[in-house]
Amino acid sequence: MQLRSWTPSRRETMGLGLTALLAAALAPCLVMATEEAVAAELKKLYGDKPMADGKIKLDLPEIAENGLVVPLNVDVESPMTDGDYVKAVHVFADGNPLPQVVTYKFTPQSGKAAASVRMRLAQTQNVIAVAEMSNGTLYTAKAQVKVTIGGCGG
């Protein structure tokens, strides 16, 4: 395992930091999404289908110092067999200019309905995940992240 190749050098880190500062300085966000925007996106996807709490583990920092890079890990409980697996997972952030963050499509070959990504958060807000099971059942989970320096000038 070459873990070392993943560690940015000092120069790269400095560069990223500078880029981040510049981005923050240049990026006043005009319009923010709201809970309604997230609800509207969900309505487009699934209509008025009911959603149950549970099954989803949202792994997020409680406090994100840098809103430009917030680690997000979603893990949905499922046997991931041909007859019972997680089809899709949608992640939304209700305080970003655009609510969508990422949409995953899993298959039984995924083995695990889990994935990690890094996202931008413009301000302190809720991150919402919705999972669609192979039988059509929907589950949802929500977590709040406090953002110290927003990913968008806030």
Partner: protein
């Protein structure tokens, strides 16, 4: 903005049948949101990678649609249940229509 450098992928080269392996990928990209303005007040147009696909021996097993909220230099980790030897193909699709791919071999003992 076109894709600049080669994507990096970390996958184990060997696995037992039925083993769930973790795959980590990283690609260099600005992921310009389309929300920012330049110094003259003009909006910088959106330019992101909007889709990531992972397949094994030609069969897609994981897809991710990325939106503007995904950080610059996107990192994506996910899993695959090994069953046979073969090759992974990873594809990143840019807003400008360009594509970047990477591959990795997996031997199942």
């Amino acid at each position: 903005m076109a894709i600049k450098s080669k994507p990096r992928v970390k996958v184990p080269s060997e696995a037992k049948a039925g083993e769930i392996v973790e795959i980590k990928t990283l690609i260099s990209h600005e992921m310009e949101t389309g929300q920012r303005k330049d110094s003259t007040g003009k909006t910088i147009p959106r330019a992101i990678i909007n889709k990531f696909t992972a397949s094994f021996n030609g069969k897609t097993f994981f897809e991710a649609d990325w939106f503007t909220s995904v950080s610059a230099n996107p990192y994506q980790a996910f899993f695959y249940k090994a069953s046979e030897s073969g090759e992974f193909t990873f594809t990143w699709k840019d807003d400008d229509g360009s594509e970047q791919t990477a591959s990795a071999k997996l031997t199942v003992a």
